[in-house]
Amino acid sequence: MNIHEYQAKDIFRRFGIPVPPGDVATTPDEAERIARAYGTGVVVKAQVHAGGRGKAGGVKLARTPADARAAAQQIIGMQIKGLTVPKVLVTPAADIASEAYAGIIVDRASKRAVYMVSPAGGIDIEEVAATMPDKIMRLPVDPRYGLLPFEASRLGFFLYMDNAKLAREAAKIMRQLWQAFTASGGSLAEINPLVVTTGGDLLALDAKMVIDDNELDRHPDIAALRDETAEDPSEVAARRANLTFIKLDGNVGCVVNGAGLAMATMDLVKYYGGEPANFLDIGGSSNPEKVVNALRIITRDPNVKAILFNIFGGITRTDDVANGIVAATRDTPLTIPMVIRLTGTNEEIAVQILQQHGFSAMTDMDDAVQKAVRLATGGKAA
């Protein structure tokens, strides 16, 4: 789960990390009021779950409250990578002497959380890794010990080699960031940039955290940070229905059980000349209700020209899926064509149910995908 910069800063602050003050505005009026209260120049920053805010014009310096108002006016409601910006963070502008990077990610190769720090901050860490690999220190953390004091010290001295005071303060921040990361069930925590102000103080000027969805049950306070106004409405609806759904731009709506098969189905749509409209996994335990919700969400997308079911019954009972299709189309019949492929557990019963209600079912995945693509493109593809 993504959280906003201001939320990550609240967490950081709780763990003692120095972060600048800041307040959230959802209207230009509020932004102006906040800027006036600070009485200094401010930065107005889009709070949105997408990278590259700066380049997209989502971060603006404002010298006066009126500027802040104007900046908020421009930013709130703008689209960044397909997401609407619901709010801005208004925070006093800082005088920056230098910028560094500090982050923790879960590394699949070492099977550990890994610290990455670089004295070259403020830019994308991948870029640093590609162009100045010796400017990055990677430090896998043994979860059984946590970040040890000497490890924090190594990170601190790597960042501020020539300044023992800053190195020691940075080491402390490294330990605090580790605490914030583990205590929140993070899968990523980042300070970029970590700045030295012209006054010589360290400050986490930007903050990013991603929370492991699987940790949310353990951390209700963190789960409560979810901002549905910042998400795609169809994905919010899908999550509420316990579906895993990601909206794409294609024309073939896909309903599949299992993530791997769902991806393979999308790929096959593309292979046969179509474009998948979504990723949708109904999961292992198939109750008819899930199928009803899935159809409802997919048909809301005007781009979808055909619907493709691809169900391989293992734990999933294909008759449940068939019943769901029947239930969903009983009251509001579909206005676009649908191709149903199912095989596996209770396949015969499922086919019978579908046939009784005027649907036909296929058993071969390639045949089904080709047919769906043909229907979606009006026969132009494949």
Binding site: E126, D213, G258, G260, L261, M266, F312
Partner: protein, 289 residues
């Protein structure tokens, strides 16, 4: 022959009295798996299906039955503890089906299991099956048939799809292993490929990867350097957008890393067969067997 499970597999089912555990324990018994014990704390002394003894702890189950393999169907908050309990009790193969285990839990579980020289498969995996001999997990038995192709995959139903197509085309399997879709899991592709290479009955391997991480790239390098047997690979997620988690916690393209294109290139560079779609496995394996 087979890998990881065979006629000597003596299985304990952790969470045998739960909803999923009891359902699949029955399925495994029906398939002929040697299920020797179940574990549910507080239900020690009961019998499952009137024949499988239930214990309070895995240690008790191992002491009483000599179980050497465990399969875990417990809810996510307790799965890490269950994996560690199994390894600590001397179980040598631990298979965790549970989906939704926190990744930081897995960073702790992995060294624990390693220290005890146990093999962990999963979590968030369908388990494994040696057709006609033993099934540990949830892979539907009827779609498999004994033969000489090893199957290893990061996904569940996609594996079923491929195995189903192989079986229909008359290509049987030695063992099918689902290693799971989480970013940190116990057994990776390389360890499975290594085992298939060592298994005399396996003549070729089908491998299904996904976007995310570099496991497939490393596996391809292993195939190039160490495998004498042909390997055919597939990557799901060619149409996945970057930065979005495609269902599986591990199926996510971070920045420019972990794309399907990158993985398919690695397969080609390693001289592997490359399946563009699941159905290609049949033709590519036929050519190589």
């Amino acid at each position: 022959m087979s890998i990881f499970i065979d006629r000597n597999t003596k299985l304990v089912v952790q969470g045998i009295t739960g909803r999923d555990g009891s359902f699949h324990a029955k399925q495994m018994l029906e398939y002929g798996t040697c299920v020797v014990a179940g574990v549910t704390p507080g239900k020690g002394g009961q019998k499952f299906e009137n024949k499988v003894p239930v214990f309070d702890t895995v240690a008790d189950a191992v002491a009483a039955t000599g179980a050497n393999t465990s399969v875990i169907y417990v809810p996510p908050p307790f799965a890490a503890d269950a994996m560690m309990e199994a390894a600590d009790a001397g179980i040598s193969l631990v298979v965790c089906i549970t989906e939704g285990v926190p990744v930081l839990d897995m960073t702790r579980v992995y060294p624990y299991v390693q220290d005890r020289k146990a093999r962990l498969i999963g979590p968030n995996c369908p388990g494994l099956i040696t057709p006609g001999v033993s099934k540990v997990g949830i892979i539907p038995g009827r779609i498999c048939t004994a033969g000489n192709v090893g199957v290893v995959s990061r996904s569940g139903t996609l594996t079923y799809e491929v195995v189903y197509q192989l079986t229909r085309a008359g290509i049987g399997q030695t063992t099918c292993v689902g290693i799971g879709g989480d970013p940190i899991n116990g057994t990776n592709f390389i360890e499975c490929l290594q085992a298939f290479e060592a298994d005399p009955d396996t003549k070729a391997v089908a491998m299904m990867g996904e976007i995310g991480g570099t496991d497939e790239q490393q596996a391809a390098e292993f195939v190039r350097a160490h495998m004498s047997k042909p390997v055919v690979g597939f990557i799901a997620g060619q149409t996945a957008p970057p930065g979005r988690r495609m269902g599986h916690a591990g199926a996510i393209i971070s920045g420019s890393a972990g794309t399907a294109a990158e993985k398919l290139d690695a397969f080609k560079a390693a001289g592997m067969g490359v399946a563009q779609r699941p159905a290609d496995f049949v033709t590519l394996l036929h050519e190589r067997l």
